[in-house]
């Protein structure tokens, strides 16, 4: 925890003049993130205990079913993250404050990481259970894949533009369009496969109460993890922006 505080205070020493708006915000977020580590640790340990010990072993699927808790937790968090990108995009276009851009980019980063977790844990589970690594027939799988592609494209767009107002503006527009697209993608993928004979149907799984508890704790743990990462990444991005401001000032003075 003290690591984060040191990180915050060290960078405020670097900022010799009155510390900038970005720097102040970054310091504040790092402190919040540090405090979040306490519940993250507690709920995280509880989630691991619930998933591996508290929840019973599923009768037909066996131990591999336990991946479900992490899979769903990551999926929920990914969708939340992309919703935040959408909201931050609207907020940026409305307020024109670069803070919203950094927040959106940080959330998209975390979202892509969690979507990658979803797309990795899915095949590990699907291979023994559905006998296929990649069930194209499941609309959720294909929608998640398209979601991943959209937000990787979001970073391709960002990295091809110089930092600044224009990049923030275009990234916001893309983040909004990408999010609007998601329900249409889901609908189209569902129709795509239900028209043809469905090879794989999601079998009716009735969850034991202990399983529901484990799932809820896992979702809570992942949500706290998301906010911790979001605050940390936003703070780091804001510090980048603040140090860029310093460089700019130094360059202007040396000219």
């Amino acid at each position: 925890m003290s690591f984060f505080w040191r990180l915050g205070s060290w960078s405020s020493i670097m900022w010799l003049e009155s510390s900038s708006y970005f720097q102040q915000r970054a310091d504040r977020y790092l402190k919040w993130a540090a405090w979040l580590l306490v519940p993250l640790y507690l709920v995280g340990v509880a989630a691991l205990y619930a998933a591996f010990i508290h929840a019973p072993t599923e009768r037909t699927m066996g131990e591999v079913q336990r991946i479900f808790y992490f899979h769903v937790g990551a999926a929920w968090t990914a969708f939340l993250a992309f919703f935040v990108v959408f909201v931050a995009g609207i907020a940026y276009l409305w307020r024109r404050n670069l803070f919203w851009d950094e927040l959106g980019a940080a959330s998209a980063e975390v979202g892509v990481v969690f979507t990658t977790i979803v797309l990795t844990t899915g095949p590990i589970w699907a291979r023994p259970i559905w006998n296929t690594w990649w069930p194209w027939g499941d609309p959720r799988v294909t929608t998640t894949l398209v979601l991943w592609l959209i937000y990787v494209a979001y970073f391709a767009l960002r990295s091809s533009l110089p930092a600044g107002e224009k990049r923030a503006r275009l990234a916001a527009v893309f983040g909004i369009i990408g999010f609007i697209d998601v329900p249409i993608v889901f609908l189209s993928v569902r129709w795509w496969r239900t028209i043809h004979p469905v090879v794989i149907t999601r079998s009716e799984v009735r969850l034991e109460p202990e399983m529901v508890q484990a799932l809820l704790i896992a979702v809570a743990a992942f949500t706290i993890l998301y906010f911790t990462l979001l605050l940390t990444r936003t703070a780091m991005r804001l510090q980048d922006a603040a140090s860029e401001e310093i460089m700019q000032a130094v360059r202007e003075r040396s000219d």
Binding site: L149, L157, S160, V173, I177, V185, S188, V189, W192, I195
Partner: protein
């Protein structure tokens, strides 16, 4: 001057430029035909499986040239600096957007219809009325494609790697209309089954409406101050 007339004037300006050189149109058309030829080399021509895959081949042959056209649509504007002129004109940015969409759309439709003829010949289809459905989908899918594509093309105009970046941005977003186009075409041409076409049609129309409206609203932010 009516707003619709403004849209038409902006579109006709682009199409006139295209018509005077004709080079871009013919090259794009040639490229699309080439894709159809390459796919026939890649698969076993005349076999049942190639015929089953032909709706997908047709739409791929339309998508790639469409991408090239979109990349070009703002190129001359930035090279000659005319975009500034248009942006300075007392015209709503949404109108400017619709003008560009219309120009791209008409350009693509001309390519689409000519390629469809090549497709019928190469894949040995009987030109029956079910192709009217395919043409209808060309109209509607082209509109959605142009709407999203015009927004993204305007976004990447000054980017060095725009030729690669535009497809990366565009393909994930247009997944719904690609699926709709390919599946509807397959149902109509291969299975002669018209029961699901209407549903795909609704999806494409919804996509068109949503993204024409979204593009109209956000284009102001894309072209900037």
């Amino acid at each position: 001057m009516g707003q619709l007339k403004l849209v038409w004037l902006l579109a006709i300006k682009d199409l006139k430029i295209e018509y005077r050189s004709r080079q871009a149109f013919l090259t794009t058309l040639f490229f699309a035909a080439l894709i159809l030829v390459v796919f026939n080399f890649a698969f076993d021509p005349g076999s049942a499986s190639t015929r089953d895959a032909s709706p997908g081949i047709l739409w791929v042959a339309l998508l790639f040239p469409g991408m090239i056209q979109l990349n070009r649509s703002f190129q001359s504007e930035t090279e000659e600096g005319t975009l500034q002129g248009i942006v300075l004109a007392p015209v709503d940015r949404g109108i400017l957007f619709l003008g560009k969409v219309l120009a791209n759309w008409l350009f693509l439709l001309a390519i689409d219809l000519l390629i469809l003829a090549v497709f019928i010949v190469f894949f040995n289809f009987a030109p029956d009325p079910s192709f009217l459905w395919v043409i209808l989908f060309m109209f509607l899918v082209g509109a959605g494609f142009s709407a999203v594509g015009t927004v993204f093309a305007a976004m990447v105009t000054n980017v060095r790697i725009r030729e690669v970046l535009l497809p990366i941005l565009l393909f994930p977003i247009i997944v719904p209309i690609i699926l709709a186009a390919v599946n509807a075409t397959r149902e109509v041409l291969i299975h002669q089954d018209f029961s699901t076409v209407e549903r795909w049609l609704q999806l494409v129309v919804a996509f068109d409406v949503i993204f024409l409206a979204a593009g109209f609203l956000v284009f102001d932010y894309v072209v900037g101050e």
